[in-house]
């Protein structure tokens, strides 16, 4: 029932198309090689406009996760430029890099929650990008307004009633919802998600993806996500970018594509 309601809500917002021409992320000639001459990917160019949802697809090893990480310098690219929220990401100093990162939410495939801490403490951690210190380490130390906001974020993902439960006692779906709540707590402008539902069963994956995208669109956030689920890519993205053997093989509006068109990206070579 909840799933149907979420789908209906999503249908209402899925007609959304980015009105802005302002770029949140501009990638130009980007490349990464761990060893010289062996590129994970190369010559990648694309732009993410504000409010746009873009899916990045490609076979295992195509370089999707590395590309996402290069976009926030979790991995240093070896070629090209990245302009994030109008700033040249590759030339900024560590303090400025941290400030820029605080504007970017990042949801990982494996949730990456701190297992021994509560869902609420994990959600409070979302505020660490903007302000740090012991008051943000545990929910029990956090100021009242921060705890209230964290509970609100958990309510958005439907988990306010289990805020005190430890992260390692949550199901996979619940853990990913907490990870989304942590990202919401951050109040980001751009959200990056690396296969956010890949570790979930199909039903939980569908629910989490619907919830995730509806929250992103509610807040008008730019969304950049990877997925092996081609239906997700076509349904939840405005645009699909395809990587094949480390090169950009596709950049097209999702409405013009069918799942069958995308299968070629998964052919060897």
């Amino acid at each position: 029932m909840a799933s149907t309601a979420a789908a209906a809500r999503l249908d209402e917002v899925s007609a959304y198309a980015p009105q802005s021409t302002e770029a949140d992320l501009e990638v130009s000639g980007l490349g990464k090689a761990y060893t010289p001459g062996r590129n994970v990917f190369e010559n990648v160019d694309f732009t993410l406009r504000r409010g746009e949802a873009v899916a990045l697809i490609g076979a295992n090893g195509a370089g999707k996760s590395t590309l996402l990480r290069c976009c926030v310098r979790l991995i240093e690219p070896t070629a090209g430029t990245v302009r994030l929220l109008g700033t040249d990401l590759l030339s900024v100093r560590p303090r400025e890099l941290r400030r820029l990162r605080s504007e970017i939410g990042f949801v990982f495939q494996r949730h990456n929650l701190v297992p021994r801490l509560s869902a609420l403490s994990n959600t409070v951690h979302g505020a660490l990008g903007r302000r740090g210190g012991p008051a943000y380490w545990l929910q029990s130390c956090a100021p009242a307004d921060l705890r209230r906001r964290a509970i609100e974020c958990l309510r958005h993902v439907g988990l306010a009633d289990i805020a005190g439960q430890r992260a390692d006692r949550l199901s996979g779906g619940q853990s990913q919802r907490v990870a989304i709540a942590r990202a919401l707590m951050q109040q980001p402008r751009l959200m990056i998600a690396d296969e956010p539902v890949a570790s979930l069963d199909p039903v939980a994956g569908e629910e989490v993806m619907e919830l995730f995208v509806s929250l992103m669109r509610r807040d008008g956030l730019t969304l950049f996500f990877t997925s092996h689920n081609l239906e997700h890519a076509l349904r939840y993205a405005d645009r699909v970018i395809g990587l094949q053997a480390g090169r950009m093989a596709l950049d097209a509006p999702a409405r013009d594509l069918r799942a069958a068109d995308l299968r070629g990206l998964y052919d060897a070579g």
């Binding site: 929650l113 701190v114 951690h125 979302g126 660490l128 740090g132």
Partner: protein, 272 residues
């Protein structure tokens, strides 16, 4: 091929059960065995002396039984002091070991010089025996329990610093990546992800350190660094074996109690 030949053929296809060591490996084994034999000589190992000495154990036991509690009012405070030295030394040592362990953990310290220095410091604290540290601190701060407590602090840092660093290196890197990605500082990331994840290892290591410190604090008195060891030495020197037996039994009870409580707490921590 007859049916009788079949098993032989099957065996021929298998790899050999044993491989002959190479000549250098064979020589190395030989050197190790020779050195072990020589070490028994160097250590003065003698079954004859052992056989001759065994009756003396019986003699010691008969002269030390029943234990004497005539000086219990002096021994009991010394025992309490021994445990207090162990407790304070361990707590202070553990508190210093956490930041030192962070600096000595690969990938966390963020500075090569700090990493190498903290590793070297921990190695120094670990490799020099606690009794030698006690002698050093007796020279520095004088006779008494403070010198022994400082020796236990240093010994605890050597023990916990290494294990804390290894525990922090082994935690899942995912949560660290998640907080780094949202712009959290290194300190916030370590305090929010690494330390909570390594906490069970911290607690169990600290409890082991307390057990170790309790045993160490017993012998600190032998070099004048406080605790019940001094009482034991005096009793032995004066041939007061019944009093010495009382002290030995009390030490046994103390160490056993600390171990039992430690086991209980460890079990609870691991179940959490």
């Amino acid at each position: 091929m007859t049916p009788a030949d079949a098993p032989a053929a099957a065996v021929r296809g298998l790899p050999p059960r044993m491989t002959m060591p190479s000549l250098p490996a064979f020589l190395a084994y030989l050197v190790v065995i020779l050195f072990l034999v020589l070490s028994f000589q160097g250590a003065g190992w003698s079954f004859e002396k052992l056989a001759r000495g065994l009756p003396s154990v019986g003699d010691f036991l008969s002269r030390s039984w029943p234990p004497s509690i005539a000086r219990i009012e002096r021994i009991a405070p010394a025992l309490l002091e021994t445990f207090q030295m162990a407790l304070v030394g361990t707590v202070v040592g553990v508190l210093i070991s956490v930041p030192l362990g962070v600096l000595a953990a690969r990938g966390l310290s963020g500075n090569r010089i700090l990493y190498t220095t903290s590793r070297a410091l921990i190695a120094l604290f670990r490799t020099v025996p606690d009794l030698i540290w006690a002698l050093v601190f007796v020279i520095c701060v004088g006779l008494g329990p403070f010198a022994g407590t400082l020796a236990i602090v240093v010994d605890t840092i050597g023990f916990c610093g290494r294990f804390f660093a290894e525990a922090m290196e082994d935690v899942d890197k995912g949560p660290q990546e998640a907080l780094t990605a949202i712009g959290a500082s290194r300190t916030d990331t370590i305090c929010c992800t690494v330390i909570p994840a390594a906490m069970p290892a911290f607690i169990t290591t600290s409890l082991f350190a307390l057990e170790k410190s309790t045993r160490s604090s017993v012998i600190m008195g032998l070099v004048g660094a406080g605790g019940i060891g001094l009482e034991l030495k005096v009793a032995m020197d004066l041939f007061e074996y019944r009093e010495a037996m009382t002290i030995i039994l009390l030490i046994f009870v103390l160490v056993l109690a600390v171990e039992r409580v430690g086991n209980l707490l460890r079990r609870n921590v691991l179940e959490i």
